[in-house]
């Protein structure tokens, strides 16, 4: 399944390269021979010669990403996934003056498979003034941000097969961004490829098929670059796939390891699948949100999705490890070190794909996870021992609470093969319709949290929700590329949102900024501000302590991607991708009817004082 593409590109030639870029998108010229030689004079005559060259992204720089204040060189800003920038030129005192500096129209809005359009969910990556963003179909754009303008340097279109992948993308045509490794931009495509693109030229050096849409596997997450590896997660639990996390050696393009999130019969954890259905007939355990990395223990922390079929938990008696769990694996071998499961034998679709945020507080090494089930969890990241859990949503009905000793839901009964939790609010085969809070989107979905280490405060992008689950018991094994959900949700209730702040020293909610629509964007934290966005178009800044809204701007599109910040030429910017994607406008829109007016789009917004 691998195909290397030889690419005669001498490193020595790079130092003399100059890029000349036309002043408007209309002047862009298509490169002719895709993998031919390295003739530098590709563009029209220079309006602006760009003399700076992108540096090598070394392992050491990625480890020290927090020291590169001006940059954002890995998906969650730093390996600890805090999404905290120390840049403070834009601050609570002057954020009112934040204005659009420039915008750029991107592509990828076209539909495919069951999707009428693509959207933007990515986090821009910025390295020394050069920005890399992706659209939903996996095109990578390199943008030069020097001089207070955005200039497109190149666009790499992976030519993703729309129908093949779009038919089995459960939840939208999405791509959450790139990773950097040496002189390469590493990206994924919905149709399951890992692609290495030359930073300077935009030419693809090699590509490798990591996931297989023929089985219902697609890839939406950004790769996590650790040492010489790209770590890939997969989506497809709604189609009965058996989830995994895979590591590809970026120097040899070989697979280093692949750790499945559902054990095979006989492997540790298989005793938690006690029915006659095997991991192949049930499936689940997707891993489609980029994880975090603890270099001290050489551990990758990664969230694992729900079991299949989503709502029919009688189909799969047992706790169903390692679904709905945070997983700690050895970075070199992929071997599972520990796990912490949030919702055993999940009947709600409360997956745990969320990022684990690594924080050190009061001498404790903590991993934080804001779960789709509505609770924020803290565990000891050295061994997975439970520390505390607190609800970050206004309404939880599925359980009375989390047992402060065990970390399990209070109603959890180890002797039961099929968990019922709160019987009134748990989908069961004997009753067709059940209302659950939070709704099956959560709680909190993929949009990332942020953590301010100065304030020891953790900010959660919340979907304040309930919805209705209609059970349709599954009787047969799943078929590849067929939905395998055991029912489905509907939206008789209005859904709103919030940014909810949790004091990590106490585990208590200390603030809630309520919004009329769910937070589908995610959070950026700076020393005294919190940035986020709304599906109704607003990008906004909150005071980090009071959560008072200090600034907003309506982009005119649906915000479905997290903000980030960077600095170039000594000036700070805030960037965010705007263009409603994901599952909301297809499956969940009835809970927010006004959002039906939001049109598809694909725009990069960059703000400055």
């Amino acid at each position: 399944m691998e195909r290397g593409i030889s690419y005669p590109y001498g490193r020595s030639s790079k130092s003399t390269r100059r890029f000349y870029v036309g002043g408007t998108a209309l002047l862009l010229i298509f490169a002719t021979a895709a993998f031919a030689d390295d003739a530098p004079s590709v563009g029209p005559k220079a309006e602006t010669p760009i003399v700076a060259k992108s540096p090598e992204t070394t392992t050491q720089r990625l480890l020290d990403a927090d020291k590169e204040q001006q940059n954002w060189i890995t998906h969650h800003k730093t390996y600890n996934a805090q999404r905290f920038s120390t840049l403070d030129q834009i601050n609570a005192g002057n954020v009112k003056g934040l204005k659009v500096a420039w915008t750029m129209q991107l592509g990828g809005v076209e539909g495919g498979g069951i999707w009428s359009h693509g959207g933007l969910e990515g986090t821009p990556i910025v390295e020394d003034g050069f920005m890399y963003v992706t659209d939903g179909w996996g095109s990578v754009y390199k943008v030069d941000t020097h001089g207070g303008l955005g200039r497109l340097l190149w666009k790499m279109d992976p030519k993703t097969d729309h129908d093949w992948a779009g038919a089995v993308a459960c939840c939208g045509v999405d791509n959450r961004g790139v990773g950097l490794y040496k002189d390469l931009v590493i990206s994924h495509t919905l149709d399951g490829r890992l692609i290495a693109t030359d930073k300077e030229t935009g030419q693809v050096k090699w590509q490798r098929q990591v996931a297989d849409p023929d089985k219902g596997e697609v890839v939406t997450g950004a790769p996590l670059i650790v040492k010489n590896m790209a770590i890939t997660g997969v989506a497809g639990a709604e189609y009965g796939i058996r989830g995994w996390i895979a590591a590809t050696d970026l120097d040899t393009q070989k697979e280093m390891w692949r750790t499945f999130t559902l054990p095979k019969k006989g492997e540790p954890g298989s005793e938690t699948w006690s029915g006659t259905n095997s991991e192949e007939t049930t499936g689940g355990g997707s891993t489609w949100v980029t994880g975090s990395y603890d270099p001290i223990s050489n551990t990758i922390l990664w969230g694992v999705g729900n079991p299949g079929p989503d709502w029919d938990n009688a189909y799969r008696p047992g706790d169903n490890l390692y679904t709905d769990s945070s997983l700690a694996v050895d970075a070199d071998t992929g071997k599972i070190k520990w796990h912490f499961q949030h919702t055993p034998n999940d009947p709600y679709d409360y997956d745990s794909v969320a990022e684990n945020v690594l924080v050190d507080v009061d001498g404790k090494k903590i991993a934080l996870e804001a779960d789709r089930n509505g609770f924020g969890y803290a565990v000891d990241r050295t061994d997975g021992r439970f520390l505390w859990a607190t609800p970050f949503v206004k309404k939880v009905t599925w359980t009375k609470g989390i047992d402060p000793e065990t970390g399990k839901p209070e109603e959890y009964d180890a002797k039961k093969q099929v968990q019922v939790y709160n019987p009134e609010a748990t989908p069961v085969r004997s009753r067709e319709i059940t209302d659950i809070c939070p709704g099956n989107m959560g709680g909190k979905n993929w949009p990332p949290t942020a953590y301010n280490p100065l304030l020891k405060t953790w900010y959660v992008p919340v979907i304040e929700s309930c919805n209705r689950i209609t059970i349709k018991p599954e009787t047969k094994a799943n078929k590849p590329r067929d939905f395998f959900t055991g029912g489905g949700p509907s939206q008789p209730f209005r859904i709103t949102g919030s940014v909810t702040a949790i004091d990590v020293t106490t585990g208590k909610v200390v603030g809630k900024h309520e919004t009329p629509y769910p937070n589908l964007a995610g959070i950026l934290a700076t020393p005294d501000l919190v940035f986020s966005g709304e599906p109704s178009g607003q990008v906004y800044a909150l005071d980090a302590k009071t959560l008072q809204r200090l600034w907003e701007f309506n982009t005119g599109g649906g915000v479905n991607a997290p903000p980030m910040t960077f600095s170039v030429d000594g000036k700070q910017y805030v960037a965010i991708l705007v263009g409603m994607g994901g599952a909301w406008d297809k499956w969940f829109i009835d809970s927010t009817p006004e959002l039906k007016k939001v049109q598809p789009g694909s725009t990069l917004y960059v703000f400055a004082l």
Binding site: R3, V21, L28, I29, F30, A31, A34, V42, G43, G111, G113, I114, W115, S116, L153, W154, K155, M156, D157, P158, K159, T160, D161, D163, W164, A167, C171, D191, R193, I195, T197, T201, G202, Q203, V204, Q207, Q209, P213, D214, E238, P309, T470, K472, P480, R481, D482, F483, F484, T485, G486, G487, G488, P489, S490, A583, K586, W587, F588, D590, K596
Partner: protein, 179 residues
């Protein structure tokens, strides 16, 4: 476009019919139009390309392969939608504001209190008939989808049909860079 036309027809024999029979030509044109509307109106979004619908993240769409509806009922469902479900109405005039209701005795006022989804694109009456014809002739009553069905929908070259082929090995697409 011609390539698509040949794919829809699906065999050399049918192609001959297509070329030499005026009646068949009209029928095939109508089916082709119906399939194009099926795609454009995003019927695929819930019923899937094969019409079998099935479970979904947004709940189940009914199977058009197993449906027992006849053409007039299919046309009515497309025109009027199904209140309280995800099936939207595709005719702009289905729920007028005056008291001459077109669908289920309901007017636009009733829609303020009950949910009927509105389609992303509206269809004209002839288009509704064409898509109903397509459902009746190419989807209704068919068994499990197979390679021929898939090729008829996507064309010969689509990867989407690889799953119906044995040993479906895929060539990787060739990315292209613009500067």
């Amino acid at each position: 476009m011609m390539v698509m036309k040949f794919c829809v027809v699906g065999s050399a024999a049918a192609l001959v019919v297509f070329l030499f029979s005026g009646t068949a030509n009209a029928a095939e044109n109508s089916l082709e139009t119906g399939q194009a509307i099926y795609k454009r109106a995003n019927c695929v979004g819930c019923h899937k390309w094969h019409g079998d619908g099935g479970g979904g993240y947004g709940g189940a769409a009914l199977s058009l392969r197993k449906t027992e509806l006849e053409k007039p009922q299919i046309m009515e469902t497309v025109k009027c939608g199904r209140p309280g479900t995800g099936m939207p109405y595709f005719s702009r005039d289905s729920y007028p504001s005056d008291d001459a209701p077109q669908c289920y005795g309901l007017t636009s006022k009733d829609l303020e209190t009950m949910h009927v989804a509105q389609a992303g694109v509206f269809l004209r009456p002839g288009e509704i008939e064409a898509v109903a014809d397509y459902v009746i002739s190419s989807i209704k009553g068919k068994g499990d989808p197979n390679l021929a069905d898939c090729v008829a929908f996507f064309g010969e070259d689509s990867k989407a049909c690889g799953v119906y082929k044995s040993g479906g090995h895929h060539e990787l697409p060739t990315p292209s860079t613009t500067q």
